[in-house]
């Protein structure tokens, strides 16, 4: 059902409060930029190559584990009593999986102009002149694709309620990636939280459809990132919601989305207590109770907000398509959170705990 929007003519515009004075949250320590926390052994190296950094995230032990789980899966699939005579399986090793990964990476580069990535007989080549497919045959590649298995065969991690976790088949990789992403870099003061869609158009009860987004159908993850570096993420399912998070009693007033945002930020805060952080969110996440709670933790937050969301000041509600004078500004302060209403092409509503309402750049 289409929502009715409130249209207020300019001449009938009710009086809106003027911009109040607001004392923003002052950071305890000055803002900082991001820096790397690489292992000590890296300091002894003359030059660090890309593959050495990439191997920090996909370590040899993970690749060995993936190989073992793939072999286990293949044996279960192929060596059943009725198939024993038809198939046999030569175990894959970690180097085989490295080649498989190389071909996956190679396929991402296929659209590159040929002058950078040489082409011969329709095949793009790295500089050594051999196509990646020469290192691993087509059948071998397809077999690995067919039997590739991340988690141990038939072992499904469970949620605290005893239900199978919907992303259990990739749980090992998710945990490792998140752990190493947090270990090797300290994000700068200004981090972002947003949702991300992972394209998947086949059948699954866990995918989310968002027709107006560039990726309209797929898995939804909440991510915390800083200038492109994904520091933490939180999977979310359309059927069972997000993964369970620890909720303290004073956070019960928050929405489910707010609790997950609070969960992401709390991890960052617990890990780097001596640093100050500001979180920027879009209107899907920003609510007044959430920003007030973050302010009590000493973390600044700012973002666009929706007028129908929890805690939005009633005196600033004007509707989505209201016609106001150009650059009209109004504001309100509630529980340490400032709300700004500003007329641009359309009314813009924002909340912040770290910026003054007065002052322009």
């Amino acid at each position: 059902m289409q929502q009715k929007t409130l249209k207020i003519p300019i001449q009938n515009l009710p009086d809106r409060p003027k911009l109040p004075t607001f004392d923003p949250l002052q950071p305890v320590v000055p803002p900082h930029t991001a820096w790397n926390l690489l292992p000590i052994s890296f300091s002894e190296l003359d030059a660090i190559t890309p593959i050495q950094i990439f191997n920090l995230f996909l370590t040899n032990s993970i690749m060995g584990q993936l190989g073992a789980n793939t072999n286990s899966n293949a044996q279960q699939q192929l060596l059943g009593p009725e198939k024993e005579r038809q198939h046999s399986w030569q175990p894959v090793t970690a180097p085989d999986l490295y080649l498989w990964l190389a071909i996956q990476t190679h396929m991402g580069l296929i659209g590159v102009p040929p002058e950078r990535y040489r082409m011969k007989d329709g095949v793009y080549l790295p500089e050594d002149g051999l196509p990646p497919a020469a290192y691993l045959g087509k059948i071998c590649y397809q077999e690995i694709c067919c039997f590739f298995h991340v988690s141990p065969y038939n072992s499904l991690p469970e949620t605290p309620e005893g239900l199978p976790c919907w992303h259990s088949k990739v749980e090992i990789l998710l945990e490792q990636l998140q752990f190493f992403s947090q270990q090797y870099r300290v994000p700068g003061s200004n981090v972002t939280i947003d949702e991300a869609m992972i394209l998947f158009t086949c059948r699954s009860i866990h995918i989310t459809k968002m027709p107006n987004k560039p990726i309209s159908q797929g898995y939804k993850f909440f991510r915390m990132a800083e200038k492109g570096y994904v520091w933490e993420f939180h999977p979310s399912s359309n059927a069972v919601g997000g993964d369970p998070v620890d909720v303290e009693s004073h956070l019960l007033q928050l929405t489910d989305t707010g609790k997950r945002v609070h969960h992401l930020i709390r991890h960052l805060h617990q890990r780097h207590r001596k640093l100050s952080f500001n979180v920027y969110m879009d209107n899907f996440f920003t609510t007044q109770p959430l920003l007030a709670e973050l302010c009590r933790m000493g973390i600044g937050a700012s973002g666009t907000c929706m007028q129908q969301f929890q805690g939005f000041p009633k005196e600033l509600k004007v509707g989505k398509n209201a016609k106001l004078p150009y650059y009209f500004q109004s504001g309100a302060v509630n529980d340490g959170v400032a709300t700004l209403l500003r007329m641009d092409s359309l009314p813009v509503t924002m909340m912040s705990t770290i910026h003054p309402l007065h002052g322009e750049d």
Partner: protein, 135 residues
């Protein structure tokens, strides 16, 4: 920098009082809160932008494969950002394509010493025999 809205814009009459009809664009002050939001809100979007350049995502019927591709992409992008922030690479560093090509080359090098995995479920005449490639 603000562009003049179109004449059919819902708020064109209001904008015309600020940006004259002859002016295509004009510098206007914006509140601090809006400016900071525009500056810092792009953290996740930058990661998405990097991923779209050389995306390894393939179509698959298994519902967990997209997550594997996404994690592979995230690992590459995080590595790229760490690599660019190394003190030795501040002034002269690899671009995104060369970074991926370097990883590709080293992955092939890492994988090539192993003996080739031979599928025994296909006839010997169709098996792909391979030794370590000579460059």
């Amino acid at each position: 920098m603000r562009v003049h809205p179109g004449n059919k814009s819902t708020n064109a009459s209001g904008a015309n009082s600020t940006i004259l009809p002859g002016e295509g664009q004009k510098e206007l002050d914006i509140p601090v809160i809006v400016d900071a939001y525009n500056q810092h809100k792009v953290g996740v979007d930058v990661a998405d932008q990097y991923q779209t350049y050389f995306d390894t995502h393939l179509i698959s019927r298994r519902n967990w494969y997209p997550l594997v591709y996404w994690m592979l992409e995230t690992a590459v992008i995080n590595s790229l950002i760490i690599y660019r922030d190394l003190p030795a690479n501040k002034e002269c560093t690899l671009d995104h394509f060369d970074f991926r090509l370097s990883i590709l080359r080293d992955l092939l090098h890492t994988g090539s010493p192993s003996t080739m995995k031979i599928s025994s479920c296909i006839p010997a005449s169709q098996r792909i025999t391979r030794s370590a490639p000579s460059t």
